[in-house]
């Protein structure tokens, strides 16, 4: 038997000797049901309610916006760290988070002085397309991408 279990058992025996169940504090008392909330707990509760309210309202507004039937394109670009004949490989991802598809999506990808244009034929709603851009050897810098244009069918 571990020391902690021994302690617990001896406490129980002592408790019985002192009068048993009737003198044991009730579960509500043990868990502090009757004590008032501290200012810190009130603060936590208020903060939590505000945050939950903001999230729920934000998601409802977001849902309403998506139902509007507009394409919403998000462009992300990252250096994969791979090299092709000495040139860096960059991955471009375009996500359509809107309520309609987009066509002829043209994105400009820049790394250092080098600029490339990528055109994607069609990105359905709730979908994404990824393209790989390879820059010439010796190109360096942080890749950046900008959405130039798209057509909504």
């Amino acid at each position: 038997m571990s020391p902690s279990r021994q302690t617990s058992a001896s406490k129980k025996n002592r408790h019985k000797a002192e009068g048993g169940e009737s003198s044991r504090p009730g579960p509500d008392e043990n868990r502090g049901l009757k004590r008032n909330r501290t200012p810190f707990e009130w603060g936590l509760l208020a903060t939590a309610l505000v945050v939950i309210g903001t999230m729920v309202i934000g998601l409802f507004v977001y849902a309403d916006k998506r139902a509007g039937g507009q394409a919403e394109l998000r462009v992300e670009v990252r250096d994969t760290g791979r090299q092709h004949e000495g040139g860096p490989e960059v991955q471009l991802t375009v996500r359509n988070t809107g309520g309609a598809g987009a066509e002829q999506v043209t994105v400009e990808v820049q790394m250092g002085p080098e600029v490339r244009e990528v055109t994607m034929i069609r990105i359905p709603k709730d979908d994404e397309l990824t393209a790989t851009v390879i820059f010439p050897a010796g190109t360096s810098g942080t890749p950046e991408a900008e959405l130039l244009s798209y057509v909504q069918p």
Partner: protein
């Protein structure tokens, strides 16, 4: 603090998953709202049965609301730190990503009470601290990050995070480990404060445990061929992985 510890322990592996970032930004908001409603009910049930603070108020509904709300804040903080959301991105997908990441965090919050034994681990009185604690830290770190290390996410995050965010990760990892082990009302806290071993002073033990988590992360990344030496990218990958590893290390120390 037990709730916060639980939230990070259960939530961080999910936040290190790119599908969560993707689906958070792309799932229909109605689906996310449904998920939130379901997870709130689960939170309410867990707060009734377990709770993050048994000696507090015994108001399960209030505890569920507090845990749920604070999980959104914790998720937002972590996502900002990991650059999964930023102030430049459109505001609408931000809600989705935060909400989806907050779901496992809120479950962890509600389970905070049962994360570690209330009287400390069964070996708590036999453990002399020092090396034993550091071994437990290594074990906890391996358990928590073994399923993260071989994935793409640490590499992706390391490539995108700048110096300030990486330092922020280290500071947050140290602060959380310290608070979990020496401040949260888990078992064994007093034994740790009273331990005579010099390693068991709170600050030193936290630093050593972080070093162990860092070494475990570097070792796992090296074994998967992702770090090759003492260069910047390797260091960044290790720092990114050492964040969840340090939380696992803290849990490991709490278990003994």
């Amino acid at each position: 603090m037990r709730g916060v510890a639980g939230a990070f322990l259960l939530g961080v592996p999910l936040v290190y998953t790119q599908e969560v970032w993707f689906h958070g930004g792309n799932l229909p908001p109605s689906a996310i709202l449904g998920l939130l409603a379901g997870s709130f009910l689960l939170n309410l049930a867990l707060s009734t049965a377990v709770g993050f603070s048994a000696g507090r108020t015994h108001r399960p509904f209030e505890d569920a609301v507090v845990g749920f709300g604070l999980s959104f804040l914790l998720a937002a903080f972590l996502l900002l730190l990991l650059k999964r959301i930023d102030l430049q991105m459109e505001w609408a997908p931000r809600f989705g990503i935060i909400a989806l990441s907050a779901v496992p965090m809120s479950i962890g919050f509600a389970l905070g009470n049962s994360l570690a034994p209330a009287e400390g681990g069964q070996l708590g009185d036999k453990s002399s601290g020092g090396l034993g604690d550091l071994l437990a830290a290594a074990g906890g770190a391996v358990v928590l990050v073994f399923n993260i290390a071989p994935t793409e996410e640490p590499l992706l995050l390391a490539a995108e995070l700048g110096r300030v965010r990486l330092i922020g990760l280290v500071v947050t990892a140290l602060a959380l480990s310290y608070l979990m082990v020496f401040y949260a009302e888990f078992g064994g806290k007093h034994r740790r404060h009273q331990a005579g071993n010099p390693i068991n002073t709170p600050v030193l033990e936290t630093l050593f445990a972080y070093l162990v988590a860092f070494a475990v992360s570097a070792g796992l990344l090296a074994s998967f061929g992702e770090v090759s030496g003492l260069d910047g990218p390797s260091l960044a990958k290790t720092v990114v992985l050492a964040f969840p590893a340090s939380l696992g290390a803290a849990l490991g120390r709490l278990m003994v």
